[in-house]
């Protein structure tokens, strides 16, 4: 069962949402649901003690994304 909510965004936030939706070929709702899923996944992994990295595809250099709890 799905529930409805109203979301208030700033102009800048809405602009990013629209740009990302267009880039990802998704509706705004679909994009926000994806964001929630990923946010939860990151949170669960961090709670388990994992670290989040971005890796440069060419150099394989890793940069840790600092998530403050």
């Amino acid at each position: 069962m799905k529930k409805t909510m109203t979301l208030n965004l700033t102009d800048a936030e809405m602009q990013v949402l629209e740009e990302l939706s267009a880039k990802k070929d998704l509706s705004k709702t679909a994009l926000l649901r994806q964001a929630l899923r990923l946010y939860q996944m990151v949170e669960v992994r961090l709670e388990k003690g994992d670290k989040l990295f971005f890796e440069d595809d060419k150099t394989k250099e890793k940069a840790e994304v600092m998530m403050l709890s």
Binding site: A30, Q34, R37, M41
Partner: protein, 212 residues
């Protein structure tokens, strides 16, 4: 949470007739009980038959080491993952685990777009085909599950895009379903071939009612 049940049909191989079955959008405790009580004894019987016959490595089921209890426990409570199953005559006939947020498309025409990634898809051992096994009981389980992955992709707004790494024994099935074989993935632990389905492939698959 109560699973949503969708009526489907499978083919009873012995009678040649269509038989009523159900697609569930969850893998519940009963499925894990079925896996332990029904799947594992048949799987072990077949593994014993393969060993006795000194069957070549290619004949051994490549998913035989999968543990569905761990696969389901790993994703409990996670929005990004789901598990689905097919039940017929009160016994689980196949299970699938999917990831709806963690993977992106690789094919150039849709690179970077979201897809439904099939983590695991397995049918019950009595539905396996091969010279060392009894004749399969039901056909169509894998196709129903793959179709469910595509339907999930459509429902999520991903336009039917799905992706997966195939065990070598399953590549023919996925090719027949219309997925594009992108070749061995060097990043995959076992260099498994990576398959992807485009919206165009999806329409062809949904239109032709692919057989398993």
């Amino acid at each position: 949470m109560t699973a949503t049940v969708t009526p489907i049909f499978l083919k009873n191989v012995a009678s040649g007739q269509a038989i009523n079955a159900e697609l569930l959008d969850a893998v519940e405790q009963q499925q894990l009980i079925d896996w332990v009580m029904h799947w594992l004894p048949v799987r072990d019987k077949y593994l014993h038959a393969l060993k006795t016959a000194q069957a070549p490595a290619a004949a051994w089921p490549q998913s035989a080491h999968w543990n569905w209890v761990s696969k389901v426990v790993q994703i409990q409570g996670l929005l990004a993952h789901r598990a689905l199953c097919v039940v017929c005559e009160n016994v689980t006939q196949g299970m699938m685990r999917i990831d709806v947020a963690g993977k992106r498309c690789r094919i150039a025409s849709q690179k970077g777009l979201d897809l439904v990634y099939v983590d695991y898809l397995e049918i019950a051992p009595w539905n396996w085909e091969g010279p060392y096994f009894d004749p399969p009981r039901y056909r169509g389980v894998g196709t129903v599950l793959l179709r469910a992955a595509i339907e999930t992709s459509l429902a999520e707004g991903f336009k039917g895009r799905i992706g997966l790494h195939s065990l070598p024994q399953s590549t023919i099935f996925y090719e027949r379903c219309g997925l594009t074989n992108c070749g061995p993935d060097p990043a995959s632990q076992w260099k498994l071939p990576y398959f992807e389905m485009t919206p165009e492939n999806t329409q062809a698959f949904l239109g032709k009612g692919t057989r398993q």
